[in-house]
Amino acid sequence: MKHLLRNTARVYIVLALGFIYVPLLIMMLNAFNQSRINQFPLVFDLVWFQKLAQNQRLIRATVNSLSIAAFTSVLATICATFAALVLARQQFRGKAFLQALLLPPMTIPWIILAVALLLTFFWLGISRSIVTLLLGHVTVQIPFAIIVISARLAATDRTLEDAAASLGSRPARTFRTITLPLMLPGVLAALIFTFAVSFDNFPISYFLAPAGVSTLPVEIYTAIRTGFTPEVNAISTLVFIVSAACALVGGREISFGVRSA
């Protein structure tokens, strides 16, 4: 009976993961397939990667996405680090309420947040620009970053800071030598998560980007609507490999930020 249960569980997990990975595999195979209409049997060819290399629109959009993700993830992680420290170390009225407010932004559909942001900027008389685009990204990133870093801080023994103080260490030195090194895995995890949140984000970019600035998800969406080309398979394959590598490296380091010290 126990044996059966264990085998069932194993089959279940394989099926669930298969459901996710098989379509990705099909996409990746087609990136190397000569056929324009994704037809099998596969004829190996790098033609779509060659075309991609000449597709300035896609390349520019990819560079945009990478730059936006890099800039906003750093900004959001810095803001979130201070916010998480305040939430973990200070007691103040309404703290529980503020912490509860961190969760809904992660479940509210981004398209709704995007529309709300657009509306707000419109009301304030701010037209769409690089700044609105970056602010939009940071807005959706911050709750993720705060939660990841908070989880790490919660797993860190606070008596370590008391111990440092008892050993004659002033607060600034304690922060530098004890608190910061111990929270660093959480900060790195937040960087990776927020980078992914920004890089994947379609609605915020679609609504808040100024005319003439496009990101990779927006470009892929547009490409599919106007006529699918396997170049999208090629770029998606590259993106998948980079994302998966990030997730594996990050995941080992952090386990959602709660690995014990």
């Binding site: 008596t159 370590l160 111990a163 008892s166 050993l167 004659g168 002033r170 010290a261």
Partner: protein, 363 residues
């Protein structure tokens, strides 16, 4: 000189007084225990001395400096935490050097001091290990080494041996005691274990509900408790309550509810008819087989209800009609022939081995 003086200190958690107007003086070089059941305020008091908590009122003087408003890092203390609180990302050597670096000690001198203290706590060879790679006993030594390497004016220990197993704990008690005598550092330690307090401390304060029940040398407190709470907390106490029926030659005779005369010596004065309690320790009671028909003072007849054998000693539980169960302590092999459960026995003790206590019962 690092005498520690506490005057009129209080601290509340909400409405609960964890430390309630405590006054206490710990002498220079003394090994002092704060002993009490959980919730008695002993850890809160230690944290107030360390500066992790700020008292609502009262003064704390270490040496000749008033300290209650001085931040923790400037108090020059050593603190050993119950869970050790070793820095997990630093090696043993770095953990121990941390306090020296805080004080800006030159690296070469710090290295020498670390090496000396490692030898003192027998940790040579483990310098490069991380805390997670050490056993519980080794972690305890690192925590101790880290706290003493800076030669603090006061060493504070919060249940320092609480996480160790029984045997290791007994070994570490001896080591800790010897180390403290060698360093001569004023040391205050918190424990809920009365045996540990007795083994280690020169003097101790027994705490109850945020107040000091008694300050005394451990054996003196054991022999001469001032309340039933202290008598019970420091060991097994056979207690009888009654009213004073006679006073003679510095001894008090109580008549219990069951009508027996129970006597104890005391240099305090009492009046006939006063309600009191008399306490006798289990090792002071003499147990004989059979029953004793003579109606003498301090003689009770009963039967053995249970014998608890722990190897070197026996705890014999005796039921006497009209009293709570009594406990008698005997060395193993002390008597000829076995004692059996259910057997009739007579109990007696000398009045000078019993103590007079206030009648108030436990709350």
């Amino acid at each position: 000189m690092s005498k520690v003086t506490i005057e009129g200190m209080s601290y509340h958690y909400g409405a609960l007084a964890a430390v309630d107007d405590i006054a206490l003086t710990i002498k220079d070089g003394e090994f002092f225990a704060l002993l009490g059941p959980s919730g008695s305020g002993k850890t809160t008091l230690l944290r107030l001395i360390a500066g992790f908590l700020t008292p609502e009122c009262g003064r704390l003087i270490i040496g000749d400096k008033e300290m209650q408003h001085v931040p923790v890092y400037a108090r020059d203390i050593g603190f050993v935490f119950q869970n050790y609180a070793l820095f997990p990302h630093l090696t043993v050597e770095q953990n121990i050097a941390f306090g020296l670096e805080s004080r800006g000690m030159p690296r070469s001198e710090a290295r020498k001091r670390v090496a000396d203290v490692l030898a003192l706590v027998q940790l040579i060879g483990l310098e490069r290990r991380r805390p997670a790679q050490l056993s519980g006993g080794q972690q305890q030594r690192v925590a101790l080494a880290r706290a003493i390497v800076t030669e603090p004016r006061v060493l504070l220990l919060d249940e320092p041996l609480g996480a160790l197993d029984r045997k290791l704990r007994a070994e570490m008690q001896i080591e800790l005691r010897q180390l403290q005598k060698r360093l001569g550092t004023t040391t205050i330690f918190v424990t809920h274990d009365q045996e540990e307090a007795m083994t280690l401390a020169d003097r101790m304060a027994v705490l109850r509900a945020g107040k000091i029940a008694q300050i005394d040398a451990p054996m003196h407190a054991y022999e001469y408790p001032q309340s039933r709470f202290v008598a019970d907390f420091l060991g097994v106490a056979n207690t009888f309550t009654g009213t004073v029926s006679a006073l003679e030659n510095g001894c008090v005779v109580l008549t219990t509810a069951a009508g027996d005369p129970i006597s104890a010596c005391s240099d305090q004065s009492f009046t006939i008819g006063q309600a009191l309690a008399i306490m006798v320790r289990p090792e002071r009671v003499i147990l004989q087989k059979g029953s004793d028909a003579r109606e003498r003072v301090n003689t009770l007849n009963g039967y053995v209800s249970y014998i608890s054998r722990t190897g070197a000693s026996l705890l014999i539980h005796v039921t006497v009609e009209g009293y709570p169960p009594l406990t008698i302590f005997e060395q193993n092999g002390q008597r000829d022939g076995e004692l059996h459960e259910g057997e009739n026995v007579a109990l007696t003790w000398l009045p000078e081995h019993a103590r007079v206590l206030p009648a108030e019962s436990e709350t």
